[in-house]
């Protein structure tokens, strides 16, 4: 019930926007999130966008995982 998923903004008009995920399109209300643009990813919950996704932050988290992965390889090679 609480489920919320990331979807991409395809078209925005006033308080509503068409979003898509894996080819499925849906119209949602975007009045709760400021400054949404076409191409943004938003978290959608029960017909509303509740927050914008920050792509830069997503990349930073993945970079950290990458670092960890190489650290692990080195440890395994050493032992």
């Amino acid at each position: 019930m609480c489920l919320a998923i990331p979807m991409k903004i395809m078209k925005k008009k006033g308080n509503t926007a068409v979003v898509s995920l894996g080819g499925v399109e849906r119209t949602i209300d975007v009045s709760l999130v400021k400054g949404i643009k076409t191409g943004d990813y938003v978290i959608v919950h029960a017909g509303f966008a509740i927050q914008k996704l920050n792509k830069k932050e997503a990349r930073e988290t993945l970079k950290l995982f990458d670092k960890m992965k190489y650290g692990t390889y080195r440890k395994i090679q050493k032992s």
């Binding site: 609480c2 992965k69 692990t72």
Partner: protein, 364 residues
């Protein structure tokens, strides 16, 4: 999102699990981490995260499923309203099946009650606009993720001058429930995995009391397997002293320190914070949202005068203790034998986010 697959990368999972095992060796005690979000409960079960963890680290589920913590009184009230003439109930699907004693909305609709299952509060509003001769009552349950949506819909109803739209508010707040749990001396929680989407709305500040006043670290986590593993790692690092005991955000791609202020504003405009009952936990001070007096015309509690008899809990269902993290479904005599998702006895088996359903579906 294009990155989602990367948050499930097996190499990352391996690296994170290895780090978790390394750090946990430095902690010479049993560590209990609690998640307070049904979507986390489901993801943990689905990805088999419990089996990846070292022996001294266990994950326990808290009161994170909104349908599960909704007390019988709310369901009984909804059922009484559904018996009145000219009323249509609009509800999320999970609520429809939750038993309250021997009753449920599902059974009631077999007896003639009109119940529509909706995906969004906006759908409930649409039904009201299309059926001006009927009274539409939306059963509003959910935490901070959902309450701004209900608030918005009430504002829309006022702008559109609807006279036939009502909301039965069962909305609840997560941080006060967490406070009730850390104060409860019957068990010990070493760290909280905080809910990502509740926090998208409220931010990280409301959790500050946990490290500051109770010495319990918090990490706000995303929902992919690597998100959860990284959050567990961060908590363990705080517990062993490698990181400062604090509130940290792992789910930085979605959660800001101060959350979604637009949503917070409309919650404050439409609702008042009140004391409410939680199934299993009992009354928690300042943990629920009631519709503000300015919006009484939309408040189902004040517009329908009812005499509600509260059903007693199903005998031997231990949902209450499961919601507090004191027991697991495996401790319940009825689990899998008499209680299954097809014929649930307690709410924790009805909602897919309920701990019993998550165990049933994934942890065999």
């Amino acid at each position: 999102m294009e990155h989602i697959e990367k948050f499930r990368n097996p190499d990352y999972i391996k690296a994170l699990v290895l780090q978790i095992h390394t750090v946990s060796k430095k902690i010479k005690k049993e560590v209990k981490l609690m998640e307070v979000c049904g979507t986390h409960t489901m993801a943990i079960a689905r990805w088999g995260i419990r089996k990846m963890l070292p022996e001294n680290v266990s994950l326990i589920s808290g009161p994170g499923c909104p349908v599960c913590v909704t007390p019988n009184q709310f369901i009984d009230t909804a059922i009484e309203i559904s018996k009145l003439g000219n009323v249509k109930i609009a509800t999320f699907g999970d609520m429809y099946r939750v038993p309250s004693g021997k009753k449920s909305l599902e059974k009631q609709s077999a007896n003639g009650a009109v119940v529509d299952i909706v995906y969004s509060p906006l759908d409930a509003l649409k039904i009201a606009e299309k059926n001006p001769e009927k009274k539409i009552v939306f059963l509003a349950v959910g935490f901070e993720t959902t309450s701004p949506l209900t608030a918005k819909v009430i504002l829309y109803a006022r702008n559109r001058k609807l006279k036939n739209f009502f909301v039965l508010s069962g909305h609840k707040l997560i941080p006060p429930a967490m406070v009730a749990l850390v104060k409860d001396k019957t068990h010990h929680i070493d760290g909280f995995l905080c809910p990502g989407h509740v926090s998208a709305i409220i931010g990280s500040e409301p959790y500050r009391v946990f490290p500051n006043n109770y010495g319990v670290p918090c990490v706000i986590s995303g929902f992919e397997v690597c998100d959860i593993l990284q959050s567990i790692l961060m908590l363990l690092e705080m517990i062993c002293g490698k990181r400062k005991l604090s509130v940290e955000i792992q789910y930085t791609r979605c959660v800001l320190r101060y959350g979604n202020t637009v949503a917070q504003k409309i919650i404050a405009e439409v609702f008042n914070v009140v004391d409410v009952d939680w199934r299993g936990i009992g009354m928690i001070e300042q943990s629920g949202l009631a519709i503000n007096r300015k919006f009484t015309e939309f408040d189902a509690f004040s517009n329908f005068k009812l005499d509600v008899k509260i059903s007693s809990e199903a005998k031997s269902c231990i949902c209450g203790q499961i919601l507090k993290g004191l027991k697991t479904p495996l401790d319940c005599k009825l689990y899998r034998r008499l209680c299954t998702p097809e014929s649930p006895i307690g709410p924790c088996m009805v909602s897919s986010e309920g701990t019993c359903a998550a165990y049933y579906n994934y942890e065999r």
